[in-house]
């Protein structure tokens, strides 16, 4: 066994003291909340849905945590009253309900245990993940763990890892089954032996969430020793090519898409050579990197067997087995974590726990002869179901609206309702083993729904005047080197109808599948249409009078609402810029008060005020005319800012053109505008949309009339991005583009949710044009495909 935890660089210790200083200043009122936010988020500290409660996300490279570290975490959670912790699909552990003043001491304690939250959030190198069966899996080609640690140690010490265009996710898989989902990470390594030499096939530009994408193959095989240099080269390319202006298109996959996979491959090779020339070292090659000779292809889930109390995996080391410990939705109390640390010390030769991509823990290197005794211990610690695959364990769910600021629905409650329906109805072990149901509370992909055999994400459908919590259903996803495929949308089911739908789907699969047929193969055999028909039977929504339950989410007694959805905690780069402008505006206003000729100060205050939010609409400029115009278009015309401020904006133009008195006596008005802009900013979500208190409802409502279907397969050339463009300007722009096309030509148009997707297609139908397709982009936007059928 090789070492499985990281050496942390000393820079991180200094950064903790900087954080302590920041927090101290914040608590004294010397540092604004927005500046603190821009600094704490890259340190892995997020504010929860409840203001004033924070979450600390601890990165665990490869998901490998020693029993001693687990004990330390349990101690921290107990001492600071964090209650339930979460293990995540990217192998982090989250401490919840922390007060900001406690975070410096928590980070110091983590550091003493060799753990860090640095890079737990923001535009940084995130946790490097790995197949949890690395080193033991009978199917793996070699143990990837040493490379996970080497890449982590290199990247977490670089200042440049914490100011990237967006997050940078890396994963390692030990074989083509790709249990770590390397192909849907920004950078993915899949172990590959060539002529006896360990190496990796390398993928770049994958990702889930906004416009999920499977990565492109960069290398068929590269020596394993090059892993650090490749990761560093990609970091540099991303730093250079990533779109910092547009957060929604900032991830590496958009850069790869923009330059093209082949061009990117060329740049990557060149950059990796430069990195090597600079003296970035190769990875050390572990001495005992033994792997299976002829690895069978297969997901680890297929290798699980039931023995007595437990489902176990026979390790490739004779006499040893690995035991998955099921934690519903990754939740774990400090008592349980402490108990499992004790179990790991007693039963595991490596005295470790591994976090799995399905939010569970894995205990490895258990002597087969100890399995019975372990079964008893586990039953005591976790309850009778923990060692067996019960219906609930098929679900991987994010926390959703329960704590997350982006959540729409409550996926864990929905999963429980589904599991209850399934348990009573004879869904057998083999069926459960063949599916993972990944359910997300919003179109983001923390539960990794695009890659789940059944993927679900929360949307709100409008029925009459009311909102119905619903889930969009994705089917047919598949994992495997070169075969990875994301799920296709089959339709949308009200949350209330989800259990009946899932049950029918699984029952059908159970009776209809060929022996040991995977769900993805079954899906291909039946075809998407078959599942759409099945789903269609579960889509009807009774009226509110007949069944108000359809208008409430699982576990809630009140009607479904989007209230509370608020500022996301990501994308600190944008926030910094905004905070800077707002602070400049405040300063200039103060200055204006003390001056006999306040014109200039007032003008600067007004300009900084209207510029602050411009970056959220893709505009980063100092040109006053552009700024004033963009502000009118994006904020006044859209109703976010009262039209009464137009006069003030006109006066700003007048001042610029030499009307010296234009802003005289307007200080209070500018103050009011600044207050309004600050209010909007405080309600901004991670997608840079605003949710002012008076307009709570419509932000993320999917029209129920728009059918959700798969990606439209358009070329970028014929696509018009009208996200962020309000009605009716979006229609105007699309119409002008269409006018210039030939009859019969098609045009793809990206539209916002809400009014735009309700109005724009209808307007084109009125004009006699054909709408050939409308599909959800998966990130809360829509793609409409138009065909010009009329001049």
């Amino acid at each position: 066994m090789t070492s499985t935890t990281c050496r942390l660089p000393e820079e991180l210790a200094r950064d903790i003291e900087q954080h302590a200083h920041d927090v101290e200043r914040f608590l004294k009122g010397e540092l604004s909340a927005s500046i603190l936010k821009s600094r704490r988020v890259p340190r892995g500290i997020y504010e929860q849905r409840q203001n004033g409660d924070y979450m600390v996300r601890v990165r665990v490279p490869g998901g490998a945590i020693s029993a001693a570290q687990a004990r330390a975490l349990a101690g921290i959670a107990a001492h600071y009253g964090c209650g339930t912790m979460h293990v995540t699909t990217r192998q982090d552990i989250q401490l919840h309900n922390v007060q900001i003043g406690q975070t410096p001491e928590i980070m110091r304690e983590l550091y003493r245990s060799g753990l860090t939250s640095k890079g737990g959030g923001g535009n940084t190198v995130r946790n490097v993940t790995a197949c949890p069966y690395a080193g033991i899996c009978p199917a793996e080609r070699f143990d990837v763990t040493p490379f996970v640690l080497a890449v982590t140690e290199h990247l977490i010490g670089l200042a440049g890892s914490y100011n990237l265009p967006r997050k940078y996710k890396i994963a390692f898989s030990g074989c083509g089954a790709d249990c770590a989902m390397a192909q849907v990470n920004d950078l993915g390594f899949i172990a590959q032996i060539r002529d006896g030499v360990p190496g990796f096939s390398v993928f770049a530009g994958g990702g889930m969430g906004a416009e999920s994408r499977v990565g492109d193959r960069m290398e068929q095989w590269a020596p394993a020793t090059e892993a650090i240099r490749i990761a560093e080269a990609v970091r540099r390319l991303f730093d250079r090519l990533g779109d910092r202006r547009n957060r929604r298109r900032a991830r590496l996959r958009f850069a790869v898409e923009r330059v093209g996979a082949d061009a990117f491959r060329g740049m990557l090779r060149e950059s990796a050579r430069a990195v090597a020339d600079e003296g970035v070292p190769a990875c050390e090659m572990p001495a005992d990197l033994a792997g299976a000779d002829a690895p069978p292809h297969g997901d680890y889930r297929a290798l699980l067997v039931q023995t007595g109390e437990l489902n176990v995996l026979r390790q490739r080391q004779a006499g040893y087995a690995a035991v998955p410990l099921q934690l519903p939705f990754g939740q774990i109390s400090w008592r349980l974590l402490e108990a499992l640390a004790g179990i790991a010390e007693r039963f595991s030769l490596e005295k470790m726990l591994r976090i799995t991509q399905d939010q569970n823990l894995l205990l490895r290197f258990v002597r087969v002869s100890d399995l019975d005794a372990l079964g008893l211990e586990i039953r005591r610690a976790l309850g009778p179901d923990a060692g067996r695959r019960a219906a609930l364990h098929s679900f991987i769910a994010c926390t959703g609206a329960a704590t997350c600021r982006l959540g729409l629905c409550l996926p864990q409650n929905a999963a429980r309702a589904c599991a209850e329906a399934m348990s009573g109805d004879g869904i057998d072990f083999a069926t459960l083993q063949a599916v993972d149901i990944r359910i997300n509370g919003c179109p983001n992909a923390c539960a990794q729904h695009p890659i789940g055999t059944i993927g679900l994400f929360g949307v709100a459908q409008r029925v009459g005047e009311r909102l119905v919590p619903s889930y969009r259903v994705l089917l047919g996803a598949r994992r495997g080197e070169g075969r990875t495929r994301l799920g296709q949308a089959a339709g949308t089911v009200p949350a209330r109808a989800l259990p009946a739908f899932i049950l029918e789907l699984l029952r059908e699969f159970q009776t209809g599948r060929a022996p040991s047929e995977a769900f993805a193969e079954y899906f291909d055999r039946q075809g998407l249409g078959h599942f759409q028909t099945l789903l269609e039977r579960h889509t009807s929504t009774p009226s509110y009078a007949d069944d108000p339950g359809f208008y409430r989410d699982w576990g809630r007694d009140e009607d479904f609402t989007l209230a509370g959805r608020g500022a996301g905690e990501c994308g600190a780069g944008v926030f910094e810029v905004i905070a800077e402008d707002l602070s400049a505006a405040n300063k200039a206003l103060e200055q204006a008060q003390n001056e006999t000729e306040p014109g200039d100060a007032l003008y600067h205050a007004l300009l900084a005020t209207v510029r602050a939010l411009a970056i959220t609409r893709g505009l980063d400029t100092q040109d006053p005319d552009l700024i004033l115009r963009a502000f009118e278009t994006h904020f006044v015309d859209t109703g976010l800012i009262d039209g009464g401020f137009r006069g003030l904006l006109a006066r700003a133009r007048g001042y610029r053109e030499g009307w010296r008195e234009a802003l005289a006596g307007r200080r209070e008005e500018i103050r009011r505008l600044l207050d309004r802009v600050e209010l909007l900013y405080s309600t901004m979500d991670a997608d840079l949309h605003f949710h002012p208190p008076e307009a709570e409802a419509c932000a993320a409502v999917a029209s129920s009339s728009a059918p959700g279907t798969g990606p439209a397969g358009l070329t970028a050339a014929a696509e018009l991005d009208l996200r962020g463009v309000a009605c009716p300007m979006n229609f105007v722009k699309a119409k002008l583009r269409l006018e210039n096309l030939e009859l019969g030509a098609t045009l793809g148009v990206l539209l916002d949710d809400g009014e735009p997707i309700r109005n724009v297609p209808a307007s084109f139908r009125n004009e006699g044009q054909e709408i050939s397709e409308i599909s959800a982009t998966g990130d809360g936007h829509w793609r409409m495909t138009l065909r010009k059928t009329k001049e």
Binding site: R629, M729, V732, K733, K735, L736, E739, E767, G768
Partner: protein
């Protein structure tokens, strides 16, 4: 023609209309309209046509702004009193829309200058204030082959019609010639409701825009009569007159000539029959 971002935004409510669109807006931007008379009718017509993005607007008027004009001639402000009407109106048009080129003809239309001016434009709006001028415009449009929108207002009543020379009934098909002097109303009767100028002038502007776009039905072979007191519109349908002295089979008017002005004579005033 490619619209700029600002133009797209400015004209978005036109572009949305299926009958207009980007192509229609381009036609307007390429359009040239002459407004004869920058007074009661000409003011609203000019302002709306400028706002609509009609690329070239010609203003022909030899008068200066007078205090008594301001009750209805909305292109002029109090501070413009004494300025040439065409300058005052042009300034307002440019302020509304810098896309528009405004050409000034600071003179009254007469037989000797009319054709040279008219030939520069696609469509003419008759905003003149006397029978003599209206007959001159009608004749000049006929000889220049320019379609035009006629309107006249008096007291509470207005009338409008559109003429396509050679194809539809003309002003002289209907009215033959200026009325005799004794038929002219006296000064006390020759007042006018200010808003009436706005209503009829914008009807003319609408005709001009429709003509440039090539959409809808023009107000041809019909005289639209508006009564502001009763708030009714009435249509008088008429046909082209085969015996018309201007556009008939054997016309008696074969060249442009000035009609004698018909005006009432009152102390210190230049008030003419049809007030605009």
């Amino acid at each position: 023609m490619n619209l700029t971002e600002r133009q797209i935004e400015r004209y978005s409510r036109h572009i949305i209309l299926p009958e207009v669109g980007g192509k229609g807006q381009a036609k307007l931007l390429a359009g040239r309209i002459l407004i004869v008379g920058a007074g009661g009718l000409g003011s609203p017509a000019a302002l709306y046509l400028a706002a609509a993005g009609v690329g070239t607007i010609g203003l022909a008027d030899g008068d200066v702004v007078d205090l008594s004009n301001l009750q209805r001639q909305i292109a002029h402000a109090t501070s413009d009193i004494g300025r040439a009407k065409v300058e005052s109106a042009a300034e307002k048009c440019r302020a509304i829309n810098p896309d528009v080129t405004v050409r000034l003809h600071p003179e009254h239309i007469r037989a000797e200058n009319a054709l040279a001016i008219f030939k520069e434009y696609d469509f003419v709006i008759d905003g003149t204030d006397s029978f003599a001028a209206k007959f001159l415009v009608a004749d000049a449009c006929h000889f220049a082959g320019k379609p035009y929108a006629h309107a006249g207002i008096l007291r509470f009543e207005g009338q409008a019609m559109t003429v396509i020379p050679g194809r539809t009934g003309c002003y002289r098909c209907l009215f033959h010639e200026p009325p005799p002097p004794n038929a002219v109303p006296s000064c006390s009767q020759a007042g006018v409701l200010g808003v009436l100028a706005g209503i009829m002038g914008t009807i003319q502007a609408a005709e001009a825009v429709k003509y440039l776009l090539g959409i809808g039905e023009l107000l041809t072979n019909r005289l639209l009569v508006f009564d502001a007191l009763k708030m009714t519109f009435r249509q008088v349908v008429f046909k082209r007159n085969a015996a018309c002295q201007l556009c008939g089979g054997s016309p008696s008017i074969t060249a442009l000539r000035d009609e004698a002005p018909i005006a009432c004579v009152c102390a210190g005033g230049r008030c003419e029959t049809a007030v605009t």
